[in-house]
Symmetry: C2
Subunit: 502 residues, 2 copies
Amino acid sequence: MEASYAKLVERLGEVQDIASSAGVLAWDQRTKMPVAGAAARADQLSTLTRLAFERFTADEIGSLLEEFRPYEDSLDRDSLEASLIRVTRRDYEKAVRVPLELRGEMARAGALAEPVWREARKTSSFELFLPYLEEAIELKKRYIECFQPVDEPYDALLDDYEPGMKTAEVRAVFAELRDGLVPLVAAIAERTDAVDDSALTGDFPLERQEEVEAAILHAFGFADEEWRVDETAHPFASKGGPRDVRLTTHHQANNLTSLFACMHEFGHGLYEYQVDRDLYRTPLGRGASLGVHESQSRMWENMIGRSLPFWERFFPTVRDAFPGRLGGLDAEGFYRAVNRVQPSLIRIHADEVTYNLHIILRFELEQALVDGSLAPADAREAWDAKIEEYLGIDVPDVADGVLQDMHWSGGAIGYFPTYALGNVISGQLWERIRRELPDLDERTRAGELGDLREWLRENVHRHGRKYMPAELLERTVGGGLDPQPLLAYLRAKFGQIYELPA
Amino acid sequence: MEASYAKLVERLGEVQDIASSAGVLAWDQRTKMPVAGAAARADQLSTLTRLAFERFTADEIGSLLEEFRPYEDSLDRDSLEASLIRVTRRDYEKAVRVPLELRGEMARAGALAEPVWREARKTSSFELFLPYLEEAIELKKRYIECFQPVDEPYDALLDDYEPGMKTAEVRAVFAELRDGLVPLVAAIAERTDAVDDSALTGDFPLERQEEVEAAILHAFGFADEEWRVDETAHPFASKGGPRDVRLTTHHQANNLTSLFACMHEFGHGLYEYQVDRDLYRTPLGRGASLGVHESQSRMWENMIGRSLPFWERFFPTVRDAFPGRLGGLDAEGFYRAVNRVQPSLIRIHADEVTYNLHIILRFELEQALVDGSLAPADAREAWDAKIEEYLGIDVPDVADGVLQDMHWSGGAIGYFPTYALGNVISGQLWERIRRELPDLDERTRAGELGDLREWLRENVHRHGRKYMPAELLERTVGGGLDPQPLLAYLRAKFGQIYELPA
């Protein structure tokens, strides 16, 4: 059995090497590759992706997993061996359900749709994109068929990004979240003049921005021999290996948004960095799900990066980097400015309070598109109506409406909810962290974030994909998904900033 | 037959995708990767290299190649199809001769030896490196056994870098070359004060160096959407795809050597860039050999980059970039300075005249090591004696002697001669180019190098690996290897610079 297990580990290691090689190529494509290199890169990525898939779904892997059933039962469920067999079997059983041909069609459709989406967004033409959206939905319906029976069609999509999560549970959590957010947004709207963020727009030289970011990232835990940060169009984090973490950012000379984008990507990077090294070259060696990942990025971006203690430490760094640029702001004024709440059209620019409403809207539309109750041709009107309903604003341009995000062009349907699930999970973790690290504010004020990193490592990061998200949450906070801690955090923070009635 | 050929092309395309992916990872490793990423990168490169090899040596490829024999004979020998079958068969027959186990041992030995070589060089300890050199030679002897019968053992090694080339031919060419160079070096030594290059050492800010290089590279043909240049420790050129060419350089603030390193790597990059796009994703889609490659890099570095017409055009760019730094030099003075001849210990810093003697020395030692007439333990003394014989200088430190190059640590024995073969070939091509492009000096003086690029594309680059180096040379200059054109070029150029008697 030991020899068979070693063989499985070796096979999986190869698959991981191929996948992580593809990851480095994808990073390069978005940061360094000359633009004319795109065609060759598409060939390389397509070949590596297919090879990894073929080797992972080889009959040999299936036979080994069958052979291991009694061995697995004899092991401690939390052991590396049992976890590896369990998670690999789940991945394998999902992977072999989808014909290679359908996978090919999906990859091709995504590759064709992305440039059309870019053009459609640039020219504000929903009609141009519509046939590609219809195709993406049709392919998703065929994909869902591979996973029948499911409680409801959307479950099959959600599971790819948030393993084990059911649509019904997300629906219930989001309903509770929405019911809590809508009155908070309304209360803040009454006091909209209480926060002024005009000082955040102006002239912020890029080299100075980079210096400030470097200071903050190093305080967070970034180390030059293991991390790097590069410029890209749409920021992301990537891992070339367990000690090779790559953040990306997009600087703009007239605002400081990339500061927060860096903190966000740091949260993703730290999660990957702190996965146990034992799990490297196995399917367990990365974050548990997109939702859990997002809980980490949002925590570093918002709960740390938009907190008063943090700016009590770092405001002087920013102020000195941009002499005369931040008006008469002090640390508290800067803290208030970076927390201004304002319903707006674009998700990625949304504040901490309204952000989740953007996600809930997409979650509702995606379900309707997939179950057939909403025709793709009507998606634009449905979008605009929900923006009016949840945020009280008009959508004057479809480029800032249903065309704003690239996800659907790539067939990534079922992905959006993980953003708000991440916020919900970050609320639950944060409540627990505040209790277990009572001097966190004081530490943050001193620029010392090692205790927080260590808590996250011990309770979340080190496990990689050993546990399903629900089990990980149960182990960490002793319960299931619950939006109340996030709502309580938001009410307290923004109640104080906007001086809302209790 | 068409279906079988399409299958072969598809299989070879996959292998090329894997190999070019590994190439991008290797580029990243040497330019961008955080240092701590080395272990994961070694796993990735080892897996990709093995996969590419396994897929290339699969029985299916062998059967297809057998099946194609009559088909190949029915085709025009110069056609893409016939060339692809011919070159693939040669590669395949070589690849399957070497047991996977021996390949693994060689890769492992190289990986282990390289850090030891670094340490040995740093501490000037030949004894530290000696066991690794002995191991490398032993492995090479086993490797040579796989290719028996060969005329002489060294042939088997040379063929990996210069396909079809025989040791006997190189020996004859190098003897003639040495006989021509030794008196030239001696004549120049009599006139050593005729050239002063002291202005080339000083304070040259890196940003200014980068601006000058960008101006020169763009005049050469570098285009931002298809090329890039990055910093590294040991410069090289790399290709991510047919329209993704990556040069690297190593800037030093106290001299201008990286200017010439950039031109050198440009020559390699242009060769790869101008290979016919039809050959992409086939074994034909790169340069014919290391020797032919080096002929291109040396031509752009020396025959263009160290020519008077070139500096008549570009000296003002350099002068203006470093105000007051170049003393009272004018274009001709700068041209003379960058062509100073001075016997020295380090190959990579050697001038155009003495460089080849460094190579001939290594070629002679390698043959003796491989045929057993020189024990590795005696390599140091043998080296020092030859440096004295050919260049008339002592080797005070083994770090600047037998330990100076990394090649042997990686098992790259048989590689060195290609450097001087490249110079020889560049001499032959240059003679032909001068005849066919009579206004080349004038064009160079105007910074217009399109005709030269086009000549090289038409006569050399576009063919990729379709022809063996000897056949390519025959087609281009109508003869075999001949050191006389290079000697004539060197005598004319340095005779003028040093005012030597005719």
